[in-house]
């Protein structure tokens, strides 16, 4: 096609002579505005009813929020969460290493562990461990009930449960590291330990941290399940008080607020940990 035939093709009728004088008006989104107003009104109604419902007894909430027994319960919840996370991830990392090893027996054992402990509800598991004395009245020459009190049962049960999930999180993280990274480290003569510690793990952490943060928050709240075996955690402390005073709702609010506060703090912590492991991941400037 020659250039003069091209010039004869008419432009669209709306095409202006000079396009630089036109102003662009964005599309109006009336639906968006309408939806926002409806949601805000509904939200306002809920907040209003919560604040004006006297049955919440916010004054009682304030009284007990920092009471000694609640703080003791909170402290137990916090250290139980920490212990379970540390032990759970230590065992989980070991299980992940088994699962990725060249040894078929270790692989099968790891697979079986994860299968079993993901299959048993944590509540059932806690009750089983709590009653383990019926199966083994004595352990290491000590009466089982003396060896495994409620707190010990809580640690064992929650850790075994946690480890099954942690194993999958760690395994996923390790598998996310490019095979070429390990080959490069081998070609440079780095020892097996150094390869894992210095090359694989820091890169795996980028995939491990978000689900691990999820698990940490889940574990924090999940520890409330130990109240069924009379471990004096945050929820059980609140329950002890309301069994005495019948102020059920305000004391459940105390527990609710504390769980929310701790979860928020953990969320902020996770942000910084993720930032740390994102080193070197930004593209060229």
């Amino acid at each position: 096609m020659s250039s003069d035939t091209l010039a004869k093709i008419p432009a669209a009728p709306e095409m202006p002579e000079r396009a630089d004088s036109l102003r662009i008006v964005p599309q109006r989104r009336f639906g968006q505005w309408g939806a926002a107003v409806v949601v805000l009104v509904l939200l306002g109604l809920v907040v209003n009813s919560v604040l004006r419902n006297r049955a919440f007894q916010w004054d009682v909430v304030a009284d007990y929020f920092t009471s000694d027994s609640v703080l003791r319960g909170l402290w137990l919840t916090l250290w139980l969460t920490a212990v379970v996370m540390v032990l759970g991830f230590a065992l989980g990392t070991l299980l992940a290493a088994f699962r990725l090893s060249a040894n078929p027996v270790l692989r099968a054992v790891s697979w079986g562990y994860v299968w079993l402990f993901r299959s048993i509800p944590i509540l059932v598991q806690l009750l089983l461990w709590f009653n383990i004395g019926a199966l083994y009245p004595e352990l290491f020459g000590v009466r089982t009930v003396n060896l495994l009190g409620p707190v010990e049962v809580a640690i064992v049960g929650l850790t075994l449960h946690e480890a099954a999930y942690a194993a999958e999180v760690v395994r996923g993280g390790i598998l996310s590291v490019d095979r070429g990274q390990i080959e490069a480290a081998q070609a440079l003569g780095l020892s097996r330990w150094r390869r894992r510690r210095r090359i694989v793990l820091p890169q795996a952490m980028r995939s491990i941290v978000p689900p691990a943060g999820n698990m940490l928050i889940g574990t924090l709240k999940g520890t409330s399940i130990v109240s069924v075996i009379a471990v004096n955690d945050l929820l059980f402390s609140a329950q002890l008080i309301y069994h005495r005073t019948y102020q059920v709702i305000p004391l459940l609010m105390v527990a609710t607020l504390w769980y929310t506060v701790v979860t928020s703090v953990l969320g902020i912590g996770q942000y910084y940990v993720e930032k740390h492991y994102a080193r070197g991941s930004e593209r060229a400037r």
């Binding site: 490069a184 070609a187 440079l188 003569g189 097996r192 150094r194 060229a284």
Partner: protein, 253 residues
Amino acid sequence: MSVMVDIRSVHKSFGSLEVLKGIDLEVRTGQVTVVLGPSGSGKSTLLRTINHLEKVDHGAISVDGTLIGYRRSGDKLHELPEREVLKQRTRIGFVFQNFNLFPHLTVLDNVIEAPVSALRRPRKEAVETARRLLDRVGLADKTDAYPRQLSGGQQQRVAIARALALEPKLLLFDEPTSALDPELVGEVLDVLRDLAHQGTTMIVVTHEIGFAREVADTVVFMDGGRIVEQGTPADVLDNPQHDRTRAFLSKVL
């Protein structure tokens, strides 16, 4: 001239696929050997057997007079423990097609990692060596950058500096320019050319025929897991004896 690499009747299969069907090759000290061949011809696998990243099924390889990956007693080859293999690898530099720099470490930390942890060099000494090497590949100003902040050509030059930091007797290059944009190939080939002129013993798997013609002492043409022919660039590239070599060259030239 002494023999640096001696490869004898090396066979290697992946499952039922035999990728190396009996390779014999000698590389002399200070020489540059370029390995050409279509993809799937086994050239990368051959290169990876030289530093025992791939185990061989049959045959033996020695580098600088040492059997790689095995210890011989009588007519048996006993596989060495990993520790020993790792020590052997520190004498052999390997440069990958995809660079494989460690993305969470700075350029400097990439280069000093192996000298510090595998050779137990003092950190200060390793840093000095690393700076000198980075200067040599033209990246003295990038020591604190992370790999992803660099272009492909720059990353590959860092990878070469990282391999050189172990002061290897032999350098292996596995298609070092194949992952690069065309305009970045030259800067990497310049570094290789420079190394060749300084008498480094190198084996380079590449598709860069021009580089082979200019720098190689020996050109090896592989196809179907075998060495089809080898000789000087003039012999193999300009006067090939085999149909398969001619067919390959007519496609790439």
